[in-house]
């Protein structure tokens, strides 16, 4: 009953209401959809509390049992406790100190990790011919090299410009076909849930 029947019934009803709220021009359905989606964001916030519990469960034993990397685990937990307490108890999301942490720790850190992927991506590109000895690998590398070459701001010969436009068109076609296929997959997966055939909330 509670394991799958009621949760599935709720998933079906709410899923249908939200979907129809988007697709049918009925104001009442649109209002219901807005309420249901707002409630879901509240559940998302509760899910984050549980996820925080998971972080504690993984890192606290490392500290108490002085396992490897226990110092790293302590800095992670102290960092999270300081920021969350600062945000909740004193300043709120817009507080000066909270914003300073975002600007001088989080943004540079994430940006540095993104920069790091420049190296990991180039290295993995170099490994490609080892993973796949196929003509498609050569096409992949040639297209990548062409795009990286034209990213340099220099005047291109007209012929290269025309070639690039056609490669661009081919790339757009390839990515668009991929995207459309994925959308079809999303629609059918969603419909299985909304029709109650698929129940990921109760283990499948």
């Amino acid at each position: 009953m509670f394991r799958w029947f009621i949760p599935t019934a709720i998933a079906v009803v709410c899923g249908f209401l939200v979907l129809l709220g988007y697709l049918l021009p009925v104001p009442a359905l649109a209002s219901i959809r807005v309420v249901l989606v707002r409630w879901a964001t509240v559940l998302g916030a509760f899910a984050l509390l549980l996820a925080y519990g998971s972080v504690l469960r993984v890192h606290l034993p490392r500290i108490f049992r002085k396992q490897s990397r226990h110092r790293v685990a302590s800095s992670l937990l102290i960092g999270s406790a300081v920021v969350s307490l600062l945000l909740v108890l004193t300043q709120g999301p817009g507080g000066a100190l909270v914003q300073a942490i975002v600007k001088s720790v989080l943004i540079p850190g994430e940006s540095a990790l993104l920069a790091l992927t420049a190296v990991t991506l180039v290295l993995s590109g170099m490994r490609l011919l080892r993973t796949r000895r196929h003509i498609s690998s050569a096409v992949f590398i040639a297209v990548t090299a062409l795009y990286l070459f034209v990213a340099v701001p220099i005047a291109l010969p007209r012929v290269l410009e025309v070639i690039l436009q056609f490669v661009d068109a081919a790339a757009t076609g390839g990515m668009r076909g991929l995207l459309l296929g994925v959308v079809l997959g999303i629609v059918m997966t969603g419909l299985r849930i909304i029709l109650g055939i698929d129940r990921p909330h109760s283990g499948g």
Partner: protein
């Protein structure tokens, strides 16, 4: 002064992250822990603040029962969801099955949002853009490019069509037309992936340049401070 302090902290974190290029090491781990800790703390703080300020406080102060219901229902569902946090073998773990109710709610609403978003936000605009790329009034070059986009889109879309009954993908018996579509689709797909890969490298390099220029700014500031 706070700007300089922020610049110093950001530069130190950047250098610690970049130390990963020498291999996995303590400095990188420490910086990563600090970042993850701050990010988790920030996200959790925002979540607690959101629930408290926008849902619990109004629920406690509201006297209208009908309006109160709109606050109480998600909070009740959220409380049931928290039961999922208990270890399954204990008593509270056994009633954690009640947490499937809010989970079902999340899955259902998520499915509704995703289907409508995918159809109205991606599928229909992309279908129209592909078709409308074929225009006689735009010139022969544009018409040809529109044709390439059309053929690429269709061939990649058809690359995944049909399902083999028993043979693995790529080893199934195919007709000549099927094989041609697969080869053409495979080609367009790889060109698309190559372009996407180049885009990823470019965006990463841009981030790298920004980080390095920040380090450069700090070095200049330090040198000018020493010079004074």
């Amino acid at each position: 002064m706070p700007e300089i302090l922020g610049l110093i902290i950001g530069t130190i974190i950047t250098l610690m992250i970049f130390s990963y290029l020498l291999g996995d090491n303590g400095l990188y781990r420490w910086a990563l822990a600090l970042l993850v800790g701050s990010a988790v703390g920030y996200a959790t703080g925002i979540a607690v603040d959101f629930v408290w300020q926008q849902w619990i406080t109004p629920a406690l102060s509201n006297t209208d029962p009908a309006a109160n219901l709109t606050y109480t229902v998600p909070l009740l569902l959220g409380s049931l969801l928290l039961l999922k946090g208990f270890p399954p073998a204990r008593f509270l773990g056994k009633i954690s099955v009640l947490g499937n109710i809010p989970l079902g709610y999340l899955v259902g609403v998520g499915a509704g949002v995703a289907i409508s978003g995918a159809l109205t936000g991606s599928l229909i605009p992309q279908v129209l853009a592909t078709g409308q790329g074929i225009r006689l009034d735009a010139g022969i070059l544009e018409l040809l490019q529109g044709g390439v986009v059309l053929v690429g889109t269709l061939s990649v879309l058809l690359l995944f069509a049909g399902r083999p009954k028993s043979q693995p993908l790529g080893r199934e018996t195919l007709s000549i037309s099927q094989r041609s579509i697969r080869q053409l689709g495979g080609f367009f797909l790889v060109v698309g992936l190559g372009a996407a890969f180049a885009g990823a490298i470019t965006s990463a390099l841009t981030a790298m340049v920004i980080r390095l220029s920040q380090i450069n700014d700090l070095a200049h500031w330090l040198m000018s401070s020493v010079g004074r």
